[in-house]
């Protein structure tokens, strides 16, 4: 029971971190062109994401 006091908040926090990261990546347009991004990483002149 004692361990639960901090383990559960940690678990929830980490989960929320993952959720936040997903929502951020969605918002910053990282899923707009998944195939293209894989190729663009090879292009020297193109080092920043769209928009």
């Amino acid at each position: 029971m004692n361990t639960l006091i901090f383990l559960i908040p940690i678990a929830l926090f980490l989960g929320a971190l993952g959720l936040g990261a997903f929502l951020w990546s969605l918002k910053s347009g990282q899923y707009d062109d998944v195939e293209g991004a894989a190729w663009r990483v090879l292009d020297d002149g193109d080092d920043k994401p769209a928009r």
Binding site: A11, L19, L26, D32, G36, L42
Partner: protein, 764 residues
């Protein structure tokens, strides 16, 4: 995926460059303002498939002075270009953009789905899926420890944590269902969302009540995972939803706003088309559209009547010729007499046909909606019956309440909600990989039902561009001479003739183009004429022969040197497509606006027995409607403006990406590659999707048949509910994924051919 190989044959390039680029007018209308004198247009580039393609296309576009920025999206095979309205002090011609793409060897089409990309509701739904997924995961973790036998105090703590996670999730992610259910209830109707909203709300409230009283069972996990699965289904369904679209605005844009009226005293006056009265004389310059139905009284010209008959060959207009509103005057200026008011003119008639046809299409009800119609009342009745049944049986109304909630949760249409959209999204992905864009899910359902396929000829079964017949049998010198003359004209036959000459051509200057006749040049050998027989041979005119081929005659001083015959080449894969439909037992017919001999020739080549020629747009629509009235479900494949009403009137319709904008808008499917095999491919995929949807329904209903009695008997603990719900949903999704698979040969070939034609350095 293989990467771009350098250097492919010029023939492919010539072939690809042959069909028309989107016109400046269309590009301008399709673009949108993005501020500061910039406009953005999205083009479909089906050929891009690797990093080198991205670099080539973006490099070519960014090299143009008028382009501000260009970005290729490899996943959607599109490029969005932002261009300046004015560059270097003059207005930009947007046609330079597709031309630059074409110059790199890729094809570019103007093709857009309405409001694709910035779809606010879709993004909200995806966020809701993410949030409910997070909540479901955490609550499920806590529930697993409860099921494995946590002691009472820990269990209560876990229930409380679950309640705190589930509450906000229900409000945030469940709002789509609440809103829709409220809308339905307020109007005295019921839909799938009513039992969903009831189930999640009641189960949450009861679980909260149980938690307050330290009871053993709480249904927070079921509530939230239900929401999660349903939201996945809802999101996919939204992607495949019916898009509100209309081809009518595109048609209306073809209508000129006004015309130059010539008064009897010779003065001129520009007036709106609505005010043009019968019998008034109008002056129409080259490059203008005909404002109202009229008869030519003076002048000669070539008129593009593709809006009427879908043919690319212009009509030679001379005094007495009748012209329809919307046709394009190409070469000379004309004086005409109005024979109909604007509202009775040809174009208004076509718009009227479209309106009628689009209204009829809206009556189709999707499979999921038809299922919901029976499902939702059945669920309500079942839950109510178990509530009353248990209440009167043992008098324990709280237990009765719990059982009826369990029934609502168990019957909740998770698997049903996923059954249709998952299949349709997978099918749309497969179609996209094969170069076919589908506009919405209902189109796929309708395509699976067809038993008759009706084709347009020019531009659909054929490429709609003339090709020289028997080139090797012609006199080389004559061909070179003719090509030299033809190079001076934009007439489709001239372009084909100029393109057919492989060797060097003599240089001929001072070529004059005689509207409605042909080309003439005075040279040392004599007067050379290239054109129709009557023109080339002077008075010795004979009627056009009924062999179905267009011909051009080269004559010197009225003596025939050579006769060039042109055929309209069949589209690649046309015979394979027809054979595939024949194997499937689909009836076929050709409806064409072209002359009978030409249609008969193509019908003979393909072995299609039923064909009708020289049809107006109205007759085409009526022919489609007749088949429909006879109980057939008709697939219409066509490309022209003249096909648009028939495309809208048919049960389902397909257009090539090269079609007129109005045709593409009216069609349910658009195929991007040249091969007509895309049509049977779409049909086959749609039928397989239909089969999978029925299987999914069977699976979902079968699951209910097993699970509902358990729930009604009161044995549905949270554990059983969670397992039953998740497995049925997962089985349905896995079953749908079976639709993925190898692409047909034509699609693979098309992807291989779509390579850049010039050598280039790989990006890496």
């Amino acid at each position: 995926m293989s990467c771009c190989a350098p250097g492919t044959e010029g023939a492919v390039e010539a072939e690809r460059a042959s069909h028309a680029l989107p016109s400046s007018e269309e590009l301008m209308l399709a673009s949108r303002m993005v501020g500061e004198g910039l406009r953005q247009v999205d083009l479909s580039v089906p050929g891009v498939h690797c990093g080198a393609c991205i670099t080539t296309v973006e490099g070519a576009l960014n090299a143009l002075p008028e382009v501000a920025r260009a970005r290729v999206n490899l996943s959607t095979r599109r490029v969005s270009v932002v261009w300046k309205e004015e560059a270097g002090g003059r207005r930009t011609d947007p046609q330079a953009i597709p031309a630059a793409i074409r110059a790199t060897g890729y094809d570019a089409h103007l093709f857009s789905l309405a409001a694709e990309g910035d779809d606010a509701l879709r993004n909200q739904l995806i966020r809701a899926v993410a949030v409910s997924g997070f909540a479901a995961m955490n609550i499920m973790l806590l529930s697993v420890s409860v099921w494995s036998g946590a002691e009472a105090a820990t269990r209560d703590l876990f229930h409380w944590i679950s309640a705190f996670i589930a509450g906000p999730t229900l409000i945030y992610a469940g709002r789509f269902f609440y809103r829709s259910a409220w809308n339905a209830v307020r109007h005295g109707r019921t839909n799938m969302d009513v039992p969903i909203a009831l189930a999640i709300t009641l189960s949450y409230i009861v679980s909260l009540w149980e938690t307050l009283h330290s009871a053993e069972h709480a249904w927070f996990d079921a509530t939230v995972s239900l929401l999660f699965f349903l939201l996945i289904g809802r999101t996919l369904d939204h992607v495949m939803r019916d898009r509100a679209r209309s081809a009518i605005t595109g048609l209306a844009r073809l209508s000129p706003r006004g015309a130059m009226v010539v008064r009897p005293d010779g003065s001129r006056d520009y007036r709106p088309v609505e005010e043009i009265a019968l019998g008034e004389h109008l002056s129409i310059a080259a490059g203008e559209r005909i404002p109202v139905d009229c008869r030519v009284i003076a002048g000669v010209s070539d008129v593009d009547r593709s809006i009427v008959n879908g043919e690319s060959d212009p009509l030679a207009a001379a005094p007495g010729t009748r012209l329809e509103a919307g046709a394009m005057n190409l070469t000379g200026s004309l004086t005409v007499e109005a024979v109909a008011a604007a509202r009775d003119s040809f174009l208004s008639e076509v718009i009227g046909l479209m309106e009628a046809a689009e209204g009829g299409r809206a009556r189709y009800r999707r499979v999921a909606d038809r299922a919901a119609q029976f499902y939702s009342p059945a669920v309500h009745l079942l839950a109510l019956a178990s509530f009353l049944g248990w209440g009167f049986y043992d008098g324990d109304w709280k237990h009765a309440m719990l059982v009826s909630i369990a029934v609502l949760i168990i019957t909740c249409p998770c698997a049903l909600g996923l059954a249709v959209p998952v299949v349709q999204v997978v099918a749309a992905g497969r179609l996209f990989a094969g170069g076919v864009m589908v506009k919405d899910g209902s189109a796929m359902e309708r395509l699976a039902e067809i038993d008759t396929a009706v084709f347009d000829k020019t531009g659909t079964l054929t490429l709609g561009k003339p090709r020289l017949v028997d080139r090797d049998k012609l006199n080389r010198a004559h061909l070179a001479l003719a090509a030299a003359l033809a190079a001076h004209s934009r007439h489709p036959l001239s372009v084909a003739l100029a393109g057919a000459n492989a060797g060097p051509a003599p240089v001929i200057d001072a070529v004059t183009e005689v509207a409605g006749g042909g080309l003439e040049a005075v040279t040392a050998q004599g007067v050379l004429r290239l054109g129709n027989r009557a023109f080339a041979c002077g008075t010795a005119a004979t009627g056009e022969e009924a062999h179905g081929l267009s011909e051009v005659v080269l004559a010197c001083d009225g003596k025939v040197l050579e006769t060039f015959r042109f055929e309209d080449a069949l589209r690649a894969g046309a015979s394979e497509a027809i054979a595939a439909f024949r194997r499937d037992g689909v009836e076929m017919a050709i409806l064409s606006g072209d002359r009978a001999p030409a249609v008969s020739r193509i019908a003979g080549l393909l072995g299609i027995g039923r064909w009708r020629a020289a049809l107006s747009p109205r007759e085409k629509t009526e022919a489609v409607a007749e088949r429909a009235a006879a109980g057939h479900r008709v697939l219409m494949v066509g490309d022209g403006i003249n096909d648009a009403p028939a495309l809208a009137a048919a049960h389902v319709s397909i257009a090539p990406a090269t079609a007129a904008d109005v045709g593409r808008q009216a069609a349910d499917f658009v195929f991007l590659h040249e091969s007509l095999e895309a049509v049977p491919f779409a049909y086959e995929t749609a039928r397989r999707a239909g089969r999978l949807i029925r299987q999914n329904f069977a699976l979902a209903i079968g699951y209910n048949v097993v699970a509902v009695p358990i729930a009604i008997l009161g044995h549905a603990t949270p554990l059983i509910a969670a397992i039953a719900m998740s497995t049925s949903s997962i089985i349905v999704v896995v079953n749908s994924l079976r639709l993925r698979g190898r692409l047909p040969a034509f699609a693979v070939r098309a992807a291989d051919e779509a390579r850049p034609v010039k050598p280039m350095v790989r990006a890496a």
